[in-house]
Symmetry: D2
Subunit: 338 residues, 4 copies
């Protein structure tokens, strides 16, 4: 950590702050320059975080040297982690394609969609029983009854199931049904939920928040690992920017960047990342081309009749077409679909 | 609701969609133009929300006519609402100045800070017992023990207390101690929490999320009102933008805009909105000048020693100076401090 | 165009505004609803733009039906345009890979880099003689002397050259040397420059501004076509968002979206779009996978010695490796490199 | 400047880079830590800018210690600068209120509006003869004929005039008519224009770009001072964010922040900063409350008939009302209107 003192801060200020650094068991450095005095503090970043020097009136700025996360860091764990969700592995050479409807609406709709994505080559089934909705008047899911349908359908078609949990009180119930728990974008910094999910003993798909920097996402994952769960898949699903032509701005830069920084696998959700059905196929190809370990895609047996997210849901024949096109792109970057 | 059909969509497409509109009990309109066919659907916006026409392959775009919220709308309730938190009224001519430390650290620190802000003229006390922290290694609050300290200090100095609740499972416990519940920016779209807080029977301070449009904030408030709680104060605390000179970008435009759209009171948090101690006083004055009903300000008896948010916490003498300067600004816009 | 009147606006308001619409030769529509009166105006969007109804005190909002651009629109011109820059075609099945140093530093550096990218398979050479620099103290290019070097090197290695023009007064000089004129992100809305470049009779690469919505980019291109130049290539080069891990956020959603809306070709600049050398290769692959017609890539014979943009410049051997990997990805989406 | 080496970079890497630092005449520092080697380079920031260490493969990150600007810095020039535009001083205790129509439409419209703002207490007149327009089909101003009208009207009503210049080729013509030159948001990084305006010998109003960080704005101002012109007024006019309720997000945080960093005066444009007439008055009050040295406000004799920006233009009686309300707010923060 580098500490820049304000212009005019004298030797006593420097000595006082060097003393605070030393008192924490960190190594202090003193670098007087012509226009600013710069101090250094070297040591464990978790201890460094306790130095609240930003609030010191003699301090102009504080610049960290090390990343604020540790357990998720590739420096700690150089090899790629592979996360197992049922019989699907996320992070190896085979791509983890997870598809399904936005929400469990009826048993029939869930089954029909699941059967079609399974047939097209999906390895996992996604659908929501608990749905976060911006408006209180939207369909917010069937809850436990939805979980039951989803579990049955998953077993019937032979796909592991991924579904969202929105509240710490529901974690046990959702974990009892699902093969993996999803933490949604709006809950990425619901830290109580993160701790509960971290203790649940199930793999987790952690979605990036709409205003989350990549570092924030990695720190949210650090909560899960710190709670004892290292079966974590990160999900890029678009961030909120000034662009309104698309629902979100899919930040594919994040894919290779995250893979440099962490050993955890990354999948991309082009459905929320674009909000527009016709963009889902090209952005799926792009996601795999830049190194994503899989995709999370909304498919509905009949999108115009979907209770939510119809505009971004693929028709089953489109998902099939995507899988066809995806094969050669995957091969071009050394990955496989099957 | 206005529905624009894609170029090439013919009479049958229009008729089919007009049929869907009519089937929901809404009034359909047909407006054929030279380059696009435009349809209209008039009626209750809650029913309109069920028309998922965005997903229809013949639809180019859907444009709402009415705001998506209802109970919070000034159209429904033209007069300003006044929210009572203990003996403090938020929304009347007297400004609701709520101040205190970021977190309850010790009984002494809480008491000293509370006593100083009370003496300077604050009407409410804020401090966190449950603290959302980006990193799992940060101080996350004393929990129930912190609530007890805060309650005692509030009673001792004679100020109502406002404190954050982060999880639906903690709502009853926090509601038992606090005079008002705060929902933080990171939980603004934690809908399970919103429903639980909505049922708790205590006034709520709802903070705007870092990526929340004003409409999203109003819909989050709609959750509270829909759950039966109309004692809601909205809090502008800055949004996340590309600007990194300040911690957040305080969106004061939101203050007069929100007051046009809703009857609920609005207070401003310039501490999180700037992240820089020296900007808190000028931005407090600006907030009141543009119509805020109050302020939520971090003050610490000794900011460089604060366990969190020291860089944005005022010294007690600065808070006192703020209250002095605030008086004439308040008077200039027809408000009072006492 | 749909015009929503404010609550309370009565029949006279509607009639007055319908009169304004009719007076412009547009077709007026009257759609009274229960909570709002909605009016319509149908006709040429260029005339609609003259209706300044947003400023009317009886108007709540105005919603356009048609896109604000016309000449660039795919509706006007359904087939893909192909732009010819020297012997390179941009927009056909062969990808337009344009590479070279950020700036012309010396004849030797320009030649060495140009020779290496030519050998690796680039079809165009890029380098700046006029450099926009955030600070007045940065290297701002050699100007005309740089153009001369670039022209000579382009001829020597046999690549058409693309270079930036920053001011209307320099357009003739740059057009005399270059095969294509580049308008940089910071000048995307320098409308005097756009008109001058539009009249210059040379193909144009128009870069998206850092805060430009896709519609703004298309309207900037409309300036060029309106001035008589339809040889326009659009460049996605990243937008400015809250994410600071990368220099910009490369918005690849824009690629398929733009190709839906316009007939003009689109190339991607992953160098500025990421700002990080190690991300350039994966993002180049992603760009081609989602449909880009080419790439604009910074390569330097010795990046650590570059006078500008060294951190995002590829080494020649990296560019060669990119071209190797790109082949199969291109083939997977029906494109070729040669 | 602090240079963090990548993990694994050894003593030779450090020595090589320390050699580069020394070769530039800067003072090198070596700070080996347990997880990273950190280097320092101390000296003139203009020389530091030439060290392109970001591109070095052994370098993980580079962190500046000093601000990248110098002439505009308050450290160089501790006292507030006062800029004189005709008989108006910007930056002293008297607020510089500059008002007028978006564009010179007709002589009569310009005169009527100018007379009304003069009567209400404005000290300067603003209006555009050259208008940047997002669409090529919008009204782009009368050019030289507009300048003549504006000059005559300014003389007739007795107000100095401020008007935009969009191209370096027009600088002399605009400077011959206007009392101050305005550089618009879209041209803030048109560096050729900045250099030309810097040499023109007239005061400048420099508007912040829609995607410009405050540091970018200060560096754009540095261009003007570096070209010999220190009569520069900075204008906060809103930035582009995800919020669409308002045209831009007025970043009032920037006002006190800029005043800390620079000696140049700052005025606020709440018309573009909000885009909504009803927000202009409250945001004007807020701007003054947080320390702005003046306002730049669009007023039109009849906003619904304005050829541009009618939705954000005040009626003359509203401007008069603003001036009435502004007096006490100004007084509360130690400023005056007259």
């Amino acid at each position: 950590m580098i500490i820049v003192l304000r212009p005019g801060a004298g030797r006593e200020s420097a000595d006082r702050i060097l003393g605070l650094i030393e008192a924490k068991g960190l190594k202090p450095l003193h670098m007087p320059g012509s226009e600013r005095v710069v101090l250094g503090a070297l040591g464990d970043e978790r201890v460094l975080g306790e130095l609240q020097l930003e609030g010191d009136p003699d301090v102009e700025s504080v610049k960290p040297i090390l990343a604020p996360y540790k357990l998720v860091s590739r420096e700690m764990h150089p090899h790629d982690s592979i996360v197992r969700i049922g019989n699907m592995a996320v992070g190896g050479s085979r791509l983890a394609i997870i598809a399904g409807p936005c929400a469990v609406e009826t048993r029939e709709q869930t089954f029909n969609t699941a059967a079609s994505v399974k047939k097209a080559g999906a390895l996992g089934l996604r659908a929501g029983a608990y749905k976060p909705r911006t408006s209180p008047y939207g369909f917010s899911g069937h809850g436990p009854a939805g979980l039951d349908i989803l579990r049955e359908v998953g077993d019937e078609v032979g796909l592991p199931i991924v579904t969202e949990v929105m509240d710490s009180a529901d974690v046990d119930r959702v974990a009892a049904s699902a093969d993996a728990l999803q933490v949604g974008a709006r809950n990425m910094q619901n830290f109580t939920l993160l701790r509960a999910v971290g203790r649940a003993g199930k793999p987790v798909l952690l979605k990036r928040g709409m205003a989350a920097k990549i570092d924030d996402l990695l720190l949210a994952a650090e909560y899960l690992l710190d709670a004892g769960n290292d079966q974590v898949v990160l999900v890029e699903r678009g961030i909120r920017t000034f662009e309104t032509a698309t629902r979100n701005t899919l930040d594919l830069n994040a894919v290779p960047y995250i893979k440099q920084k962490t050993h955890l696998p990354v999948v991309v959700d082009p459905s929320h990342g674009t909000g527009i059905r016709d963009l889902v196929i090209p952005m799926s190809l792009a996601a795999i081309a830049c190194g994503a370990d899989g995709l999370l895609i909304e498919v509905h047996e009949n999108p115009p009749a979907a209770w939510s997210d119809g505009a971004q849901s693929l028709y089953p024949h489109q998902f099939e077409a995507l899988m066809q096109t995806l094969g050669p792109v995957a091969a071009a970057v050394g990955r496989t679909l099957a």
